[in-house]
Symmetry: C2
Subunit: 235 residues, 2 copies
Amino acid sequence: MRTDHVKALFFDVFGTLVDWRSGVAGAAQALLESKGIVLDWSAFADAWRDQYQPAMQAVRSGKIPYTKLDVLHRRTLQTILPQFGLEHLEQIELDRLTLAWHQLDAWPDVQAGLARLRQRYWIAPVSNGNTSLMCDLARRNDLRWDAILGADYARAYKPMNEVYLAAADAFNLVPGQCLMCAAHGSDLQAAAANGLRTAYIARPQERPGLSDRAAAISVDVSAASVLELAARLGA
Amino acid sequence: MRTDHVKALFFDVFGTLVDWRSGVAGAAQALLESKGIVLDWSAFADAWRDQYQPAMQAVRSGKIPYTKLDVLHRRTLQTILPQFGLEHLEQIELDRLTLAWHQLDAWPDVQAGLARLRQRYWIAPVSNGNTSLMCDLARRNDLRWDAILGADYARAYKPMNEVYLAAADAFNLVPGQCLMCAAHGSDLQAAAANGLRTAYIARPQERPGLSDRAAAISVDVSAASVLELAARLGA
């Protein structure tokens, strides 16, 4: 199997391991409803998430220097306030709201699946989320990572090559010894282009109607959950 | 107390948490004795360690680009071979010998001490050791870090300012919310100069006669072990 020489598993996080949509919607509701604000909370989460790629693109293109995701989230929150009539919120409330991204729950299979995989592989998030955000999610969901890799570590955003290559190098591995695990085709395609092995983890529940699925691309492993991935890898 | 606002603890690793001297001596002996080689194994470990600062200084001064410690260890091993009559060793043996630094045991108080501190603080190594090396030591000694920070993360070597500042920033903290814990005065002095709080952990057993002790500098906390540090911080 093309995964026989794999020694490290890299995980995308938003969508692949954690439910950002319900989490951000719920955190926003918990913060704002008591102030008499009524919104379509899922639409709010989606609108915020829609600003994610354009914000990172400004870094990828060199228009702005590397800026961690927490800061980008805070800026993009500002831009969506008018469409939800939230311009009156105070700075401190916006800061608190930005922490919604640190308070996301993992899908039910993740904790047990990673614990199994960890017995056989190095495991690390290779996410565009910053280190502090990853640490909060790990504590909340009892995830035991070997290291926090990804955007902050490489000071670049996926799907830029250096994010995948820096992660492999962190474990003293060549790309072919690393398996990128993600629910998104674009991430897996970029990983494969850099020589990594790829595992697709299906998360149709991430965002109904979202089209970035890996069905059309060729991957080394495919699974419906992290537990199923562990089973497929014999871990 | 000056540590009241501390949220993250950063740990030096070589000497402060792990016994590099016995570890490297023992690993070298295990690898080479069966080939009929007889050495003063501790002297060998000391000679290798003596090349540590000069090797990093080439990076700090800009003479060479950032190069991870595993690579520096491999190069400095080459330079000490003649003084121990080891020039005949093959490349693969030298590569294996370099991994001695990945197989070090923690001092007896470390695992339990860090587990206690983790209940109250973010904890991370801020070492000049590279990520893979830190991950091997963590697995071997059952250390549960929130993140692996330090040289690879900052792409610089302590005591350069950016190593301490990048570590604080990784946790979204200001330096004054971070406590650098180390057995070496030079490390603590640089941390303090960057606004971090400082904890001295005495390790006279690291290397008999070594003079870089913190006795002469002013620190915020002083302890004889990580467990004692936990007690002093009320963790």
